[in-house]
């Protein structure tokens, strides 16, 4: 397939997983999480990272048994029809996630930066950039992501450090929350947030080897977990759960709170660059992954002609919801529901099938042929 991207290494893989799993810190998802698990919400990223690591182990086993990428592994293990259904599911959720992210980042733009801008223009702007980046290619986009990644981490930790005087550490005490069982359950259910960890498995043939996939997901999940946990903990410590659950954009609200002196204060405008870049990259990667799978599914020789129509459709879909709260609610429900099929159920099913496949292969090797 001509659309196959080039050789990617750990850096590109890290950027892919980090961008797709950490950009939620700039969205309302964690405010809703605080609503569920109050002071212990900062544990949720830790828990869903653990489930993410479990998924990674399952996927790595599947890839090692089949010695190919996830698409071909599916075909080998569950047959063509089931593969098509599985891939259609992933295409659907990647496009859906991109649509919801597009709408939320466009709304964030209006809320935080350009209140008088028509939201169609905001959506159009993000779409144009995503089209350009997709045309340039996933390899260059992920390399750029690798350059941006330290800046996102640096910016996040700078904001969190500047807020040190504002923290009330007792707000974080888990015993003030709803109980560890609920936190654990919510943490596991929020695994859908890490849907991006499957993309390297689909693009495995573009990575140097399975080891590259393993370490890129491992490092990126670790970094992403660190950023998410620290941001969420800082958010709760700075505002308290009562106030935090009312704030729509955790990171933006945190940066608004910065006051070191008359000259270093209200730096929320400057961090716009960080979240806007993270948002654009996340949308681009998800759209590219969806289009890539679409091209694989229909055995298309190239994916470039699909980029513009797909992104136009996504931007049109993103404009449909009348108000943002329904989008945020839907996104959270998807994180806690539908996406978990992709992050937990399908990898587990494939793992079981891979075990059976390996067992059969072992048996066939042991039994000498009748002839």
């Amino acid at each position: 397939m001509k659309a196959q991207p080039g050789n990617m290494g750990i850096a590109e893989g890290m950027s892919l997983v980090f961008i797709t799993t950490s950009s939620t810190i700039f969205l309302a998802a964690w405010s809703l999480a605080i609503d569920r698990t109050t002071t212990a919400s900062w544990m949720m990223p830790l828990i869903n990272t653990c489930t993410g690591l479990l998924t990674l182990c399952l996927l790595l086993y599947v890839l090692s048994v089949t010695s190919t990428d996830l698409y071909d592994a599916c075909q080998l293990l569950v047959g063509t029809t089931a593969t098509r259904l599985i891939v259609l599911y992933y295409i659907g959720i990647y496009f859906l996630d991109a649509t919801l992210l597009l709408r939320q980042f466009a709304e964030n733009t209006l809320l935080t930066a350009l209140p008088e801008l028509p939201f169609e223009i905001a959506i159009g702007w993000y779409t144009i950039i995503a089209v350009i980046l997709s045309y340039i290619g996933i390899e260059a986009t992920l390399r750029a992501g690798y350059i941006i990644m330290p800046l996102i981490i640096l910016a996040s930790f700078t904001v969190l450090t500047m807020l040190l005087p504002q923290y009330e550490i007792l707000y974080l005490a888990p015993w003030r929350g709803p109980g560890l069982d609920k936190v654990l359950a919510s943490g596991v259910m929020s695994s859908g947030i890490n849907i991006g960890i499957l993309i390297p498995a689909f693009l495995a043939s573009s990575f140097q080897n399975t080891k590259t996939v393993k370490y890129s997901v491992l490092y990126a999940l670790g970094l992403s977990c660190l950023v998410k946990t620290a941001t969420l903990a800082a958010f709760i410590a700075a505002f308290g759960t009562g106030s935090a659950r009312e704030k729509v954009l955790p990171f933006y609200e945190l940066s608004r709170l910065v006051y070191i002196n008359r000259y270093i204060q209200r730096i929320e405008s400057l961090v716009i660059i960080v979240w806007a870049v993270a948002g654009i990259l996340n949308i681009t990667v998800l759209v590219y992954a969806g289009i890539y799978l679409l091209a694989r599914l229909f055995n298309l020789p190239t994916l470039k002609p699909l980029i513009l129509p797909v992104l136009l459709l996504i931007s049109a879909l993103a404009m449909i919801p009348e108000e943002i709260t329904s989008v945020i609610t839907l996104h959270t429900k998807l994180h806690f529901g539908l996406y978990n099929i992709g992050t937990m159920l399908i990898p587990f099913a494939l793992f079981v099938m891979a075990l059976i496949h390996a067992f059969k292969q072992k048996n066939s090797k042991k039994q000498p042929s009748c002839q």
Binding site: I136, L270, I280
Partner: protein
């Protein structure tokens, strides 16, 4: 003539107007382009002319033969006639209708040298547009061999060394009278070249293509009547300036010599810094009309051979009329010519070229251009300067960070100002925003118009400063900037903050060492200003990510442009920061050199050795 007649004539001129009888002004007529092949009549005419010349020559020879036969027997005359008849036979072979038609259909440059001096002269006249073209000199002489031979020296006035021609060609050939041998005997010509012509490079050729390419370079060709070969003697001697101080890449502690316009001087300058047999210089010609000589230089045991093959493939694949500058060649060889970012380093410093070659890169030098092209490079190479390694590593790293910051300021400062002043005023402290507001109060234009007009003025000053000759250029630039800035503020056309921002941006642009990169950054800045004026920091964010992705997608001779950062390769302490000289152990990983190690882990072996004093010495 009375007043009545005068008025009558003037009135008559007005009423009975006639256009002046001057010749019509010259207007270039549109060329009539047709794809028709040349009329066969022309080629047959040329064929008949050649036959006619052959017939004349034959008639002359017959007449000479008759005269010789009527006279008493003279061995030398008979021998000369024999040779002339042999040459005529050779010429006749080539005059067969098929060969002649084929020969005429070809470009004269591809024709083989004839045994007839007249034919050769006519071909040269056709090739060099003689007698209109006064550059080509054809000097006829008779070589006093046994028998004497008519010969012609062909060279171009102005690019050949006349002393060499006089002393190393004409003088020995004219002293050949003492020689009793014939030039026409087997290996006679080779002996002549070996014994009589003291030129340092002499060779025999068979086609006019070889002759023209040699004499265009300043060499001299000798054509012999009766022989279908020509001798080429190296007599290059065009006027050229010697190595001078670098003008664009000045350095405090680095070398003070720069390339010149002469290719061989330039290759010599590089070789003086890398005195190794490993340094290879391959010569190629580019440009179908200019025939520009290019030298591809590399260290054979270090460079990845694929890079050399690719560079040569690209050079040989260029089909264009003329390549007169290294910059032109650079653009013709680029991976992404549509993007303004330079994908090769253009340098006038031999020490930079030598350092690059030692890293495993290659250099292309173009005849007539005082700049070398170094490839492959990364974006960060363009922010390095020659003396980085002459400074302590902390100072070198500091200078590099300063240049990088200068680049960022250059791209982002005006855009950030526009974005913040239009959309994100809360980002500024209250006092500052009030000060800016007060300064802008009297200015009737929006901030974008202010910035755009100042940018335009600055660009005009910059362009004017380059075009104005000598020291006057920089003086006018400085004076112009000060006067324009002050006058614009005084006239309330722009606010002082705009002048400060444009001045700082301009200053930052001078921190970028590479001229082409500086240009590309300026163009990027204008795009960013537009984005900031339209969408504030959201527009700037889109611009930033697009430009980073574009840079990551770029290649320089197949090597990623943002290496060693993206893709991440082994870091050799020489990209953004610079490590100590002793720690520069590895060559750039992205170049995949044959020998990755530049120096051993402990390169300062003297630190591990005992000093001159022996243990126990007290003195």
């Amino acid at each position: 003539m009375n007043i009545f007649t005068k008025n009558f004539k003037a009135l008559k001129q007005i009423v009975l107007y006639e256009p002046p009888k001057d010749p019509p002004p010259f207007v270039l007529a549109e060329a009539e382009r047709s794809n028709d092949t040349p009329a066969p009549v022309t080629s047959s005419l040329a064929q008949y002319e050649a036959l006619l010349r052959y017939a004349h020559r034959l008639a002359d020879t017959i007449e000479k033969s008759l005269t010789a036969l009527k006279q008493p027997y003279q061995a030398d005359k008979i021998a000369a006639l024999k040779l002339e008849i042999a040459a005529l036979e050779k010429q006749q072979d080539k005059l067969s209708p098929v060969l002649e038609t084929y020969s005429l259909s070809q470009s004269p440059a591809n024709q083989e040298i004839s045994t007839s001096m007249e034919e050769n002269k006519l071909t040269l006249e056709k090739l060099y547009n003689l007698p209109d073209n006064q550059d080509l000199i054809i000097r006829r002489l008779t070589i006093p061999a046994q028998p004497p031979v008519d010969a012609a020296l062909v060279f171009i006035d102005g690019i050949s060394d006349k002393n060499t021609i006089n002393l190393a060609i004409l003088q020995p050939l004219m002293l050949l009278g003492k020689r009793d041998k014939s030039l026409f005997q087997k290996a006679g010509l080779e002996e002549l070249l070996a014994e009589y012509l003291p030129g340092n490079q002499v060779k025999l050729v068979h086609t006019f293509g070889d002759i023209t390419s040699a004499i265009n370079m300043g060499d001299t060709a000798i054509l012999f009547d009766g022989l279908s070969q020509a001798a080429l003697i190296e007599t290059k001697g065009q006027e050229h300036r010697g190595p001078d101080r670098p003008t664009l890449e000045q350095s405090v502690r680095g070398s003070q010599s720069a390339f010149t316009e002469t290719l061989r001087v330039n290759t010599g300058l590089v070789r003086t810094l890398l005195r190794t047999s490993d340094l290879t210089t391959e010569m190629l010609t580019v440009g179908t009309r200019s025939n520009t000589l290019c030298a591809v230089m590399y260290l054979k045991s270090i460079i990845n051979p694929e890079l050399v093959v690719e560079a040569k493939r690209r050079l040989q694949g260029i089909t264009t009329d003329a390549v007169t500058q290294a910059g032109m060649l650079q653009l013709l060889m680029m991976d992404q010519p549509i993007l303004p970012y330079p994908q090769a380093l253009s340098t006038e410093r031999p020490d930079r070229v030598a350092a690059a070659l030692a890293e495993g890169r290659l250099a292309i030098l173009v005849d007539g251009s005082p700049f070398a092209i170094v490839a492959p490079i990364s974006f960060f190479t363009l922010l390095h300067v020659a003396e980085d390694f002459s400074l302590p590593w902390v100072a070198g790293s500091f200078a590099r960070i300063l240049r990088l910051l200068g680049t960022l300021i250059n791209v982002l400062l005006p855009a950030m100002y526009l974005a913040i002043s239009y959309f994100h005023q809360e980002a500024l402290p209250t006092d500052l925003i009030l000060a800016i507001g007060a300064a802008r109060e009297k200015v009737p234009f929006p901030a974008f118009v202010e910035i755009a007009s100042m940018e335009f003025a600055f660009e005009l000053l910059r362009e004017g400063g380059i075009r104005i000759p000598g020291l006057l250029g920089s003086t006018i630039g400085i004076v112009g900037a000060i006067i324009l800035g002050q006058a614009a503020v005084a006239a309330n056309i722009v606010s002082p903050i705009t002048v400060v921002i444009i001045a700082v941006t301009g200053l930052a642009s001078f921190a970028i060492p590479d001229y082409s990169l500086s240009f590309a950054i300026r163009l990027t800045r204008f795009v960013f200003e537009l984005l900031a004026a339209m969408l504030g920091l959201i527009g700037v964010s889109g611009g930033i990510i697009t430009i980073i992705v574009l840079l990551c997608s770029m290649k320089s001779l197949g090597v990623p442009y943002m290496a060693p950062l993206a893709p991440k390769t082994r870091y050799g302490y020489d990209a953004i920061l610079r490590g100590p000289n002793a720690a520069q152990e590895l060559r750039p990983d992205e170049l995949s050199p044959q020998d990755i190690r530049r120096q051993p882990t402990v390169s300062l072996r003297w630190t591990k050795q005992a000093s001159g004093k022996k243990k126990g010495d007290k003195s």
